[in-house]
């Protein structure tokens, strides 16, 4: 907390993950902050057209926010915009569904409120920026974010050695429940047998090797996306709602 701030007041950078109506004119804003993890806070009067908040607390907006510590929910007192990612997502339906899936993933991977999640925050800001700047295929951007966010949460998939016995790869089997690539001895029933290229794309996305990912063919990307989606759904209890609406490219 800064020196000149009154007790109970704090300031942080954040991405708006979700908004929910509250009462007549308020909203509960779920934020993923740089220093305080996931925070839920009330924006009073935000639904009135005269609100000082304007569009600053729309989903996917990157903000500099000042909050007042509350008993259950904090109160948002001031907001400045850093990046208007959401405003740029709205113009393209495919990016909108992809961005929504990122926000939901970030929310679901922060189980506890106020548990610091700096790495996830940085991953999310980077992914939203890449999405609106259209640097890569939007689906690849989502897959890269999902894989890295999962790895950050302790669920990094094996993409070479066998996830079970550690035998060095490459192996031709991939088991979502088994934790990634598996050897033919360890492979559980129902393991998929993706192409070697699809595994290469997953590995590239995980380490940020965009040259390899961007050069992949669309059939291979679809395969990699399918594996990522299945892996993500497996690790998030109840699955991800937004993923159903992501259009298959």
């Amino acid at each position: 907390m800064g020196h000149n701030e009154p007790v109970g007041l704090y300031r942080d950078d954040a991405v708006v993950l979700r908004t929910q109506k509250l009462g007549e004119a308020d909203r509960i804003i779920t934020l993923l902050t740089r220093r305080n993890g996931r925070v839920r806070a009330v924006a009073k009067g935000i639904r009135r057209t005269s609100s000082k908040f304007g569009a600053r607390l729309e989903p996917a907006t990157h903000v500099d926010v000042q909050l007042y510590l509350g008993r259950s929910l904090d109160i948002i007192t001031q907001v400045e915009t850093r990046d208007v990612f959401g405003e740029r997502l709205r113009r393209d339906y495919g990016s909108y569904t992809m961005g929504s899936a990122m926000l939901e993933t970030a929310e679901r991977l922060t189980a506890e409120e106020r548990e610091p999640a700096l790495r996830l925050y940085l991953l999310l800001v980077g992914a939203l920026r890449a999405l609106v700047e259209r640097r890569h295929d939007p689906r690849l951007v989502f897959d890269a974010f999902a894989l890295r966010a999962l790895a950050n949460a302790g669920y990094q998939p094996a993409l070479g050695e066998c996830a079970r016995c550690g035998a060095p790869g490459p192996h031709r089997w991939f088991s979502v429940a088994g934790g990634g690539t598996v050897c033919s001895t360890c492979r559980p029933a129902g393991a998929a047998s993706p192409s070697a290229e699809a595994i290469d794309v997953l590995r590239a996305l995980l380490v940020g090797d965009w040259a390899t990912a961007d050069a992949s063919e669309s059939a291979v990307r679809r395969e990699a996306s399918g594996l990522t989606a299945a892996y993500l759904q497996w690790h998030l209890e109840h699955g991800l709602r937004s993923l159903r609406l992501v259009e298959q490219g």
């Binding site: 007549e24 729309e58 989903p59």
Partner: protein
């Protein structure tokens, strides 16, 4: 905790949107204080609303018959259709007295994070209404927030092949405010939707 039926009343009132436990208690004791006739009228209206009011089979607005008052009014312009999220948005636009076309109520906006997709809204019904070519202009009046905007983008895209003119309600600066307080999105949209001044 109160006893029996008083507590039941407080519990039921507390289930209503925007009514917390304190308000529920206050309303309950207000009802205990007023005369029986007034309470009976309230109870009757509540039951009648459930029995009589349904949703218009054409536009999805609230109606007391198969079709609503606006859909059956021959003076309304059938060539202009205004798409809104909720019946209460119909009321808001009707209050302006500026719109003389008809409506289509979607029943919400596309919100992937809440699990609401296009097939959960009355979009198929909208496409059916547009099929005969009678509608020349579709005004999309969904909320000016991310979900509403993305829904507008989606509708514009799927309606494009039908050759209907698609317009969006202008959004921009709130009337009566100071420019310096506008956020960048609002100001950006106001620039996007600027118009020539007639002199």
């Amino acid at each position: 905790m109160y006893e029996g039926v008083v507590q039941d009343l407080i519990d039921e009132l507390g289930k209503l949107p925007g009514i917390g436990p304190k308000s529920a208690q206050r309303i309950a004791f207000h009802l205990l204080g007023v005369d029986a006739d007034q309470v009976r009228r309230l109870a009757e209206v509540l039951l009648q609303v459930k029995e009589r009011v349904r949703f218009c089979t054409v536009c999805g607005n609230v109606a007391e018959a198969d079709r609503c008052r606006i859909c059956t009014d021959p003076r309304r312009d059938a060539s202009v259709l205004c798409v809104v999220e909720e019946p209460k948005d119909v009321i808001a636009i009707e209050r302006t007295r500026e719109f003389h076309g008809r409506y289509h109520v979607l029943g919400g906006a596309i919100s992937p994070i809440d699990g609401i997709g296009p097939e959960d809204l009355r979009i198929r019904e909208l496409l059916q209404r547009l099929a005969d070519g009678a509608v020349k202009e579709l005004i999309i009046a969904t909320d000016p927030n991310l979900e509403g905007e993305a829904t507008a983008t989606y509708l514009a895209r799927i309606v494009a092949p039908l050759g209907v003119r698609v317009t969006r309600l202008a959004s921009g600066l709130p009337v009566g405010g100071d420019l310096e307080y506008a956020d960048e999105v609002t100001l950006g949209r106001a620039l996007e939707g600027r118009r020539a001044l007639d002199v």
